[in-house]
């Protein structure tokens, strides 16, 4: 093969280069020439093209994401801020937690199994590269119309991929979301979250410091996987071209990932590593340029030393390969032998591919010839930044003014009961156990709560009971009605889901899934969502520790609903004090915390029954949300609650049904005065929860709510002898819902569609 060297590039400035095919714009190509003072070599062009892609450079989103760095709430628990592989949060007792969520949307549509599998692999490597042991994963997923045959292909492949890869890693899958909406038909969303724990002293950063230190590539061999996958797959919209144009998909090896986890944690804890970086999108290009850029600025790489799975790969392909299960470490020369010994113990191949220097340049040679000589910062951090035009689209007026007021509502007890049964079985509200039972939630033996509970909860310290809770949420219909408010509502719901289990919300991560940034309406949605989230995080005191942006989730002119998935991390001092969602004990009192207003716009009822989306999303008072969380956390700590459950999609009806189905125990309830049964049951007003309080504690509980001036309404009692929910005050009558009937309806939907 002919090699395009730096001296070739200097001597042949006029050679035409395929920058456009690699996704670079003319002016981007020109600025590369300007940076280098010559044309790039083909290897340099490969590096710049992947690193300057939307996926790696955040070129369209950067100007807006800066708000997460400027609107930072005062919060003592941040140990590592935004910008590293993942942020790190102090949870006390010397423990720290890192968590992050990332998208793998486009690859999962092309090849659902491997796309979803490698999505988990990537996020797990992000977490171990911070020095943390991964302790749990979660998967927020969104699919198109459940009745569309392609949804079956996509969903079953993705679920198998998550299970097939995640179960082999030994990480409990403790939660996530499964949402159906036709807007995701050609653009399913596969977001993967991983959370890891470590002692403070084990925190590691991605930087190459120390002149003379070795750069070691270890893990799987490099093959032709996903060459250009990141830039091509993640930055271009799918069109109707056939399979011939499908890019090569990355294939995951979970066993190698498991070895990589153990091997990496062992070398980190043995103090053998100065800096570490995972290889994800853009592979070696990304790892070497980022390590060099974050360190002392210089690195030399012998690219021909990279161990290959396919000996015919060209240097450009090796630089761009996205082969999975690889890591890069910076190691002092005296520690290389010890590092290699740990790799050997775990049967992990490793090779020194480079050396840190103070040249200020990233240089790469291939069999003695220099093929790359660039300033590393220009590749890794100083990519293009776009101020994309954004404008509120005119159609928002129509959307916001066509509210749900004219939709036909149930008007009698019989209609309410029928609506309740129908709603219980809608794909969005139905039991997700057909999916989640394909994931291992028990491994590691520290899972305190897992789906369908409000948040996943993990015991961190077996001796003290210190634990963490994580939830991810987003009602994208709210974001479609108002992206600023929608992002805030997503944060509020996730925050509440953590608090409702008894954990104090501490920090936020996000995965911002949007359509094409080249569409000014989409860009407006993005700007609004980021601003809404940054404003709310500032007010609620929960910093954004990191996140991910996925653009181009759109087919033709049609974009997905703006979907800012928000993850919240909380801490609980003693997991024994957690509050589960199921009510159990006879005679305990059921309360609704918070106020219910007539808010049906964007609700599951409007969507499922009337296929309607219009109006304004529920109002949100962030201070009230924080007060509710204080009550939920205090009540958990003081043992006031025996059960608690968030109210969100599907309203109070859904919360009550889930609490009853979880235990199989019934309740005698009544619609409170001053509100009609329909609004009470299916409104999706924010800032509410159902809590269950024992007879001994209710005075203390009500006093707590009064002291905080927070609305609380008693709606009835748990009836352990009953196997049904009895609800009085339904248009002058009582209705009775058999729990087994609800359960059957709830559990048969997903197997019917996908089993």
């Amino acid at each position: 093969m002919s090699i395009d060297t730096v001296s070739d590039a200097t001597s042949s400035p006029k050679t035409a280069q395929p920058f456009a095919e690699l996704g670079l714009k003319k002016d981007e190509y020109e600025s590369i020439r300007e940076i280098l003072g010559r044309r790039p070599t083909s290897s340099e062009l490969a590096m710049y093209s992947v690193m300057w892609s939307e996926h790696c450079s955040y070129k369209s989103s950067k100007v807006h994401l800066r708000q997460f760095g400027t609107k930072v709430p005062k919060n003592d628990s941040m140990l590592v801020g935004i910008g590293e592989n993942a942020g790190v949060v102090d949870i006390g007792q010397g423990w720290a937690v890192t968590f992050k969520v990332e998208s793998h949307n486009h690859p999962s549509y092309v090849e659902p199994y491997q796309g979803a599998a490698t999505g988990i692999g990537g996020i797990v490597r992000d977490i171990i590269s911070m020095g943390a042991r991964p302790v749990a994963v979660m998967d927020p997923l969104r699919f198109g119309d459940p009745e569309n045959p392609d949804t079956r292909r996509v969903l079953t492949g993705i679920v198998s991929g998550i299970g097939g890869y995640g179960n082999c890693l030994g990480l409990p899958n403790i939660g996530g979301e499964i949402v159906f909406d036709a807007s995701y038909q050609g653009n399913p969303l596969v977001n993967a979250l991983c959370v890891g724990t470590m002692k403070h002293e084990d925190i590691h950063l991605a930087k190459a410091s120390g002149v003379g230190n070795a750069v070691i590539l270890y893990g799987a061999r490099t093959g032709g996987d996903g060459i250009g996958g990141v830039s091509v797959l993640a930055s271009e919209t799918f069109d109707a071209d056939g399979p011939a144009k499908r890019p090569s998909v990355q294939v995951g090896d979970p066993f190698m990932e498991k070895l990589l986890i153990e091997c990496t944690l062992e070398v980190l804890h043995a103090g053998l590593v100065e800096g570490i970086q995972d290889l994800g999108g853009a592979g070696i290009s990304c790892a070497t340029s980022e390590l060099a850029s974050n360190g002392e600025g210089g690195m030399h790489v012998w690219l021909d030393r990279v161990l290959l799975r396919d000996s015919t790969l060209s240097p450009e392909e090796i630089l761009m390969s996205e082969s999975q299960e690889r890591m890069c470490a910076v190691v002092e020369p005296g520690k290389i032998d010890a590092f290699m010994a740990v790799c050997k113990k775990w049967d992990v191949e490793a090779v020194v591919i480079g050396e840190v220097n103070n040249s200020g340049r990233l240089t790469v040679e291939w069999h003695g010839q220099e093929i790359v000589n660039v300033p590393p910062r220009s590749v890794a951090h100083d990519g293009p930044v776009y101020e994309r035009p954004y404008a509120r689209p005119d159609w928002m007026d129509v959307r916001q003014s066509s509210g749900p007021d004219n939709l036909v509502r149930p008007k009698s007890a019989a209609e309410v009961k029928q609506t309740w049964l129908t709603m219980t079985g809608t794909p969005n509200l139905a039991s997700k156990s057909w999916v989640t039972s394909q994931y291992d939630r028990y491994v590691m033996g520290n899972t305190v709560l897992a789906q369908p509970e409000d948040s996943g909860m993990i015991r961190v310290d077996e001796k003290t009971g210190l634990g963490i809770a994580v939830s991810t949420d987003c009602n994208a219909r709210f974001a479609a009605l108002d992206p600023y408010k929608g992002a805030q509502l997503a944060l509020a719901e996730s925050y509440r889901n953590v608090a409702v289990t008894g954990a104090k919300p501490l920090a936020v991560t996000n995965c911002l899934n949007f359509g094409s940034p080249e569409d000014s309406a989409v860009m407006w949605q993005f700007e609004q969502a980021v601003t809404g989230l940054a404003d709310a995080c500032l007010e609620m005191g929960t910093p954004v520790t990191g996140g991910n942006v996925s653009f181009y989730n759109q087919t033709g002119e049609v974009a997905i609903h703006p979907t800012p998935v928000i993850g919240v991390l909380g801490v609980i001092q003693d997991v024994d004090r957690r509050t589960p969602m199921a009510w159990q004990r006879d005679g305990e009192i059921v309360y609704v915390l918070g106020a219910t207003r007539d808010e049906l716009a964007g609700s599951e009822w409007a969507h499922a029954i009337h296929d309607h989306l219009g109006g304004l999303p529920p109002v949100l008072d962030l201070n009230a949300e924080m007060t509710l969380a204080e009550i939920l956390v205090a009540g958990s700590r003081d043992g006031l609650f025996t059960a608690a459950h968030d109210v969100s999609e599907g309203g109070i009806a859904q919360s009550l049904a889930e609490m009853a189905m979880r235990s199989g125990v019934g309740a005698r309830l009544e619609v409170p005065a001053g509100i009609d049964a329909f609004t009470f049951l299916w409104s999706e007003s924010a800032t509410r929860a159902v809590v269950v309080v024992s007879q001994d504690c209710y005075e203390k509980f009500v006093a707590l709510c009064d002291a905080k001036k927070f609305p609380v309404t008693k709606i009835g009692v748990v009836d352990a002898l009953s196997k049904s929910i009895e609800l009085a005050g339904v248009f002058g009558e009582s209705i009775s819902l058999d729990i087994e009937e609800l359960r059957t309806i709830s559990e048969e939907t997903l197997p019917r569609l996908f089993g």
């Binding site: 979970p254 066993f255 039972s437 994931y439 028990y442 033996g445």
Partner: protein, 230 residues
Amino acid sequence: MTPRVGVITFPGSLDDKDAARAVRLAGGESVSLWHADADLHSVDAVVLPGGFSYGDYLRCGAIAKFAPVMGKLVDAANGGLPVLGICNGFQVLTESHLLPGALTRNDHLHFICRDQKLRIENNSSMWTSDFEVGQEILIPLKNGEGGYVADEVTLDELEGEGRVIARYLELNPNGSRRDIAGITNERGNVVGIMPHPEHAVEKLTGPTTDGLGFFTSLLSSLVNNGKISA
């Protein structure tokens, strides 16, 4: 003296720390054994934990049987050392011919994780002596290849000799022949079970604490056999 129970870690073992925790909660001392180290370090019993020993791309447990530690284990088990294989450990035991039959892909082709009801059928093995025959227990089950198969002669032999130690109740989660969840060898020292008793040892993290019985049974059996003084 506290009984020392070895837990073997293969590179792809996942539930080894859980098995060690269960041993400790039952009152034993857990000892980590490494697959590449052909030494059982004088332990009084061994647990082969769940997971994917060597990735299990070939067949579950197929490569594990050639691990250096397994040669020692097979000899010791044939000599009477108590061995419990859980899930992947059960697969390793059948591949190593310490137990008859094999574990195959679940009949519904999906990995399944659920709280599974079992009936204890035999309390004369070293790992089930603390249970009552007929006792119903609830412990987690999680496997992709948990369908127990053997030829009819072997199945009849297992039944006839009372070597089925636990059976699935209410739902057969993986297509196992005759609802078999676990079996023992003739001597009662080697037991394989597909569901996970080590995940039902604490009220906080398991559906019940029913799984603890397997580990306390071992400790009682060791005392009764005079291996360990009470």
